[in-house]
Symmetry: C2
Subunit: 236 residues, 2 copies
């Protein structure tokens, strides 16, 4: 596999073409950003931690029968993925109240939800990734109705698998964000990353935060938090 | 019918008990508020205009087979309504992009939607009446699933009836907000008001604004705008 031109550079990753038109070479960067890019820092080792964790989590999902764009890990900071046409929606699944759900509804942070809550955000940095509903999605033609229900179903399946997986290692999966794309043959496929950048993970007992909130709210060392997650999951 | 104790005073109306426990006496006030109460003014005659218009519009809906809490007009500024237990949701229906839909989605103001967009806002002044989705509504226990689908169906029926009615008088129904309640026997019932305070109404051709946006954005005299609507609909 050969790395070709840079296709796209985001806040956390670089995507390169490869000699296979269906595959992309992803490089995880050390950049940390929060609040729609307002807070920004370079944190040595973050790229590796996210790439290793994302690779492990996609492999876990694969074992649970949930396909994704993940093909294989290429190096400490790189992985090979299936190229998709990204649907401009962030799909958030929540098990416990935190962050914007607390601010939006006034419900206390830490309350465990009876049933998971699914949210769709419109992927648009200029608009600040606003929450939208299914009528807005239809209006914006951001996704077809069957894609929307597919994303919801898959996101809930991912939640069940990851909640169980993290739970086995004493971690509480508070919430997480997914992105989906469509492949060349038109199928919906789980894409992007699953990492402590995109999940909230708390210690099941002490409720210590190990995820990007450590960086967002200046609670300590991001790398220490991410390393704790990695160790709990049996990685290094 | 006798007016008894004040039950509740809101930003636009006062609700009184009556000698019939199922009926409320509503007094429309001259107060105008916008931006969640940040902008505030007393505008003489506004209460009458809203009461007369709301009474006419509820009567129009009744003729179209859509029931509501409206019983009858009592005076220039008062009406009798059925008492309900208000569901803490504002149901917004939109035909044309304006206001927060423009800000949320970046879609240009004035664009006509192919299909109406329905939105639910959580009625909570402290939270600023945030947009929520159906999962949030379930989580907050703000409405039962069958109430939610009932509200959606009824709101779309109201939209068809009012769009047609305003259209016959050269007015474009851009969007509007409804509130629903449950009656003593547990049935869903359209409540609150339908007035230029709660609708956006533009001249079909010139797109001149006649509704509360005139006050929100200081475009001229609110009473002049509301009077134009009333005259178009054949009232005085
Ligand atoms: N399989 C894929 N095919 C195409 N694009 C992808 C795929 N997986 C992720 N992407 C996109 O890669 C871009 C770069 O990722 P990232 O740096 O996280 O971006 P962002 O700054 O938008 O968070 C994102 O826009 C993401 O949607
Ligand atoms: N039929 C009804 N039964 C009980 N409450 C009602 C009914 N119709 C409207 N209301 C409530 O009357 C209150 C007063 O109205 P308003 O002054 O417009 O309040 P607000 O300041 O919340 O906009 C609102 O909370 C509204 O939900
Ligand atoms: Mg990203
Ligand atoms: Mg009101």
């Amino acid at each position: 596999m050969e790395k070709k031109e840079l296709l796209y550079e985001g806040k956390a990753k670089k995507l390169y073409e490869t000699d296979d038109p269906d595959l992309l070479w992803v490089e995880y960067k050390d950049d940390a950003t929060a609040f729609n890019g307002e807070k920004q820092e370079v944190l040595a080792g973050k790229g590796r931690l996210n790439n290793v964790l994302s690779s492990m989590l996609f492999a876990t999902l694969d074992e649970a029968g949930i396909p994704s764009h993940f093909e294989r890990k290429l190096s400490d900071t790189e992985q090979l993925v299936r190229k998709t046409d990204i649907i401009p929606l962030e799909v958030v699944v929540r098990n416990v109240v935190a962050g914007s759900l607390h601010r939006r509804t006034g419900t206390a942070e830490g309350i465990e939800l009876k049933e998971p809550v699914v949210e769709f955000y419109y992927k648009d940095d200029e608009l600040g990734d606003p929450l939208i509903n299914e009528d807005h999605i239809r209006m914006l033609e951001a996704a077809q109705p069957e894609q929307l229900s597919g994303m919801r179903t898959q996101a809930l399946a991912v939640n069940e698998a990851l909640k169980h997986h993290f739970g086995q290692h004493g971690l509480l999966l508070v919430d997480f964000k997914l992105e989906f794309g469509t492949t060349a043959d038109g199928n919906l496929l789980l894409a992007d990353e699953i990492s402590p950048d995109t999940c909230r993970l708390w210690d099941e007992k002490t409720r210590e935060k190990f995820d990007k909130d450590v960086f967002r709210y200046g609670l300590g060392s991001l790398q220490e938090g991410y390393t704790k997650i990695l160790k709990r999951l049996g990685g290094a």
